[in-house]
Assembly symmetry: C3
Homo-oligomer: 447 residues x 3
């Protein structure tokens, strides 16, 4: 039984960061050419990516795919003709899904269409209005306060027309039909942690998984607009996913260096929850464990009643929990190669655990004689034989009812260390591996 | 699906208190005309009340209904002819179930029949001897210490003769055959919190329930003497109660303002326990949660092995836990309209919860578009949409396996607020209500 | 239903200590005449003891019974001819299972075969080499440091030849076929707490059980060499033991006065675990509760996967946890009659619990009238009727689903006190005893 998925990678943080830089200026939203350009860039790295288009007006559960939005240019000129707000300087300046406009307005009317972040006066906030036709500009509170009375030119060259919602999917088949779902979103414009970090890191996760040709499980990796995208995706795939997904990761907010965070699935006790907590317990010094009541990303769809996929999030600073969130300060300075690398390390470790987890079963009765196998010093002097202790502790729980992951939790030793010692025991014929039990394979409640 | 039981009432504390004043001087015991007069007064408020008589000598499980006790007068005169103890001044002065006597005794002999409260020297204690024929007087420790040598006239004009044990029952039928049991006791003479508060509050609970003609459940409300009364009642009704009672409340010590208290059922995890704890969690700032080992009222019978009814107590200051308990200081000054009103509020809130609890089931897959239903602002700016958050949190757990009560516990939001939002979701066709599951309907262990 | 096993004994600590003194100098190891002499001395006290011999070379699960080791003499003489190390002074001086030697060696070579305890410079360590042929001497660090250059005479008159591994077994039949297993080991030479205390105390446990002719359960008491002995024993008896053993005690480290300790079974929730914890909770002021990860004695075999016997250890100072452990300082001064008596008291109390545990079932509905049975004062004055409270508390949980042991845990009252009150209730026909339920009888997971 060979190790599934090679552990470790070399300095991937810089590569992920470079991808984020390349995608930075693309004006993404939940539909439109910005999404297509983003997917096209990712496809250069991940040729397995297939792009799907869902037409405007299509019913997807309780929702309807909206019109496609594309924007070419937008600005505000002050009464003196100075371009004080310019979409080409920062695509956050235009409210997402703004209707087009080209007119002069008074300061009073402009302010009715102006959004600022009062508790962060120099930042441009990120605002959208997907389902109510409106136009609007976002600017810093400082700029807003400096505006004088007079006529302002407001110009938004955008289109809202029947089109498509675009998403990308990569399917990497493994030995098993059971799947691990990895989902991230591509609807945020120039924002760093939330959210260029997610699709950029996920692209490199996909490359890493693609290079591991001995995959045990099948990987389904999706890049889609948040909420409407995952709903549209589920409306097409929910029955398949419910049947095959044993664990899922929603990849978001994986770019900064300030924190590690965990958001559980709705029921909180799926195999994915157990894997993620074990991974963070051993990988990082501390992390913040949130409640499902703190959710705010696509687990809202994946974990909703009746869908019930075992999807969790391993994050750095969680959306909504850092002051730069959803402002122009969540930028390429806020995310770093080191921050991205740490998140990649955590998520890939969780996948390593899933790939290599089994139920070891001891093949002998009573403890084995480790000494004759060269695994134990024969001289019984008082002391610490930690290697032998670890082997005997693992054997003590190798009853076919505790998985390697369970044993890692019991011993408070990292999964990888337990797994590597299990491999030693497997080579010595002291244990055999049972398949994972059905409740785990189906990602159901794990007890 | 309409709301069951109208919530809220207007300033009921004063009405309850007035009833307590009207019943104050009636010389109650476990049998006798004092009980009948008490029930008769309650029947004026609650015409549905039926009175039952169980004859002396009747076997009721391990017990036998005792002789009926009636008392007309009693006093002690000192050697100078002063009436130092007088039943007409305070009916606690005579030990309950005293045998008649009319003679002169020495101080020494009088003291053998005298009961005082040594740790509360000005109070008259409440003492009874139901099953051993004795006579006795209760007085303050201060009075006892002042007694001089000499002949004392002792006079008790009481009768102990074959008669009946009397109890009252109100049956208010609902849509369902399943019942909520409300039990209180009417055997205490002039005592306030323990126990005129119980029957007085229960009479007004009955009126409130009677006025709510759309009751979901059937209510069985009993006024009986403690212990022997509940045993006699169970001996006649245990099979019916075991079949139909889904929750029960023993109403006692509901009159003072000093505390709120909760006493669980024997198993501690019935639907009644869950409802009562949730109610107190959200209604009062703090309350004291007792163990079943602290029990001391009719839950001793209702929860006994083989009977196993899901009966709990929501109280103010619990019997045995306040210094005035079972003395003349537990009087009409100790209980207050405000204290009674608080307890009525708590118990009626618990009943409101039972009446309106269901298992909501979400009818759609993925989150709904609250915006198109006017339930969510469309502009996705960073902020707090607490109404929408609450609705989505409720939907997240509306999987048909969590009741509204469960969701109230999970969200730490009052049952009523969760229920009212469920009604909004019901009106929007986003959820349906499932019946309560069998284990809950039967009041069995709730997991 | 009579009490099983008479509780109490008289001052047994001195007798156990005298046995330890008598067995002190016998040179025990995992095989050899020292083991046989030890068993022979125990048989004088326990005539039911049968001795078994397992031949060298016999395969026992993953192991093979080693050659038999016997030793007559051993010493080291310094260059001046002084006998600086002498087996006859202390049998720890020779490494257990040393090969024979008779030669002169340089100081350098002697030091390669010398073992000391660096953190306890005056003590001789206890060292063995059962499965690698080596010779060695153990001495104090102080002595080692004083050695000068020169030729040393090293002399070990020992034999390693085909022979037998010897163990003893006592079978005391009871009314039931279900068994309690008591295991201790006889392979340590002159060491006190770990381990002459175990076999000496166990011999007296056996006498006490033998004198109790009304035993409910069958007792299987084994004296064997640690590890290889319990493995050899299990290889012959595992199927029988798995079928019949409901609880087991590994008796080790039961001689000093410094502490009480508890080591659980592998799964931690067997009937034996519950009994042992309840016993220590009520018998001693405090004790240290270890994890199965701290194990180090024959529970390693008895609890191994597939064997799964419910075996726990009630100890004084646990092996490996006191500074004198496995050195010449763990001697007859370290163990005391008082220390041995305390451990005997604890283990015999645990056995008393197992013998007398039942599922009491209340035979009446509602509380009984304790008064008419003379169990309750009739005068209901406020106060504490602790005897009656205890009886009613016991009855409240006598539902046929809680054992006497469960009730002891719930009430936080010692098993013996609950049991004695159950006997009162049994005599009053208020309860009956149900058999222990199958999961408990089989020593399986106890929930």
């Amino acid at each position: 039984m060979h190790e599934k998925i090679t552990f470790g990678y070399v300095m991937i943080g810089n590569d992920i960061y470079e991808l984020a830089k390349a995608l930075w200026d693309v004006p993404r939203s939940i539909t439109g050419d910005g999404v297509r350009r983003t997917l096209s860039t990712i496809k250069e790295l991940c040729p397995e990516l297939t792009t799907y288009e869902v037409p405007s007006g299509q019913k997807v559960f309780d929702w309807e795919v909206p019109l496609e939005w594309n924007i070419k240019d937008a600005y505000v000129e002050d009464p003196d003709g100075n371009r004080i707000v310019d979409f080409k300087q920062n695509n956050l300046h235009v409210m997402g899904y703004s209707t087009p406009i080209d007119t002069f307005v008074s300061l009073e009317e402009l302010l009715l269409h102006t959004y600022t972040q009062e508790d962060r006066v120099n930042a441009i906030p990120y605002v959208t209005s997907y389902y109510e036709p409106k136009w609007g500009f976002c600017m810093s509170e400082v700029l807003k306060r400096s505006l004088k009375r007079g006529k302002y030119r407001v110009y938004i060259d955008a289109s809202l027309e029947p089109g498509f919602l675009t998403y990308g999917e990569i399917l990497l088949e493994g030995e098993e039909k059971e799947e691990v779902l990895i989902s991230t979103y591509i609807c945020h414009p120039s924002l760093g942690n939330n959210e260029l970090s997610g699709p950029c890191l996920t692209a490199f996760l996909s490359r890493w998984l693609s290079n591991n040709v001995n995959r045990r499980y099948t990987y389904r990796i999706v890049f889609l607009p948040e909420t409407i995208g995952s709903i549209a995706y589920l409306s097409r795939n929910v029955h398949h996913l419910k049947k095959y997904v044993i664990a899922g990761f929603n990849v978001t907010c994986v770019g900064d260096e300030n924190a590690y965070s965990f958001l559980p699935s709705r029921l909180g006790n799926t195999y994915a929850d157990k894997v993620a907590k074990n991974t963070l317990d051993h990988l990082v010094k501390e992390y913040r464990s949130y409640s499902y009541l703190d959710r705010g990303s696509d687990e809202r769809q994946y974990c909703s009643p009746g869908v019930d996929l075992p999807v969790v999030s391993i994050m750095r600073s969680k959306y909504g929990e850092y002051p730069e969130y959803h402002t122009s300060d969540d930028n390429l300075e806020f995310i770093t190669p080191k921050g991205l690398e740490g998140a990649f390390n955590a998520i890939s470790s969780a996948i390593y655990t899933i790939e290599n987890d089994h139920y070891p079963k001891y093949r002998v009765l009573c403890e084995p004689q480790l000494g004759k196998r060269g695994l134990y010093p024969n001289t019984g002097q008082k002391g610490k034989y930690s290697k032998a202790e670890l082997l005997t502790h693992i054997l003590a729980y190798s009853d076919g009812k505790h998985s390697i992951l369970d044993i890692s939790d019991i011993l408070n030793v990292s999964f990888r260390e337990v797994y590597e010692n299990c491999q030693t025991l497997l080579e010595s014929d002291l244990i055999e591996y049972l398949s994972l039990l059905p409740p785990v394979q189906r990602g159901k409640k794990y007890e």
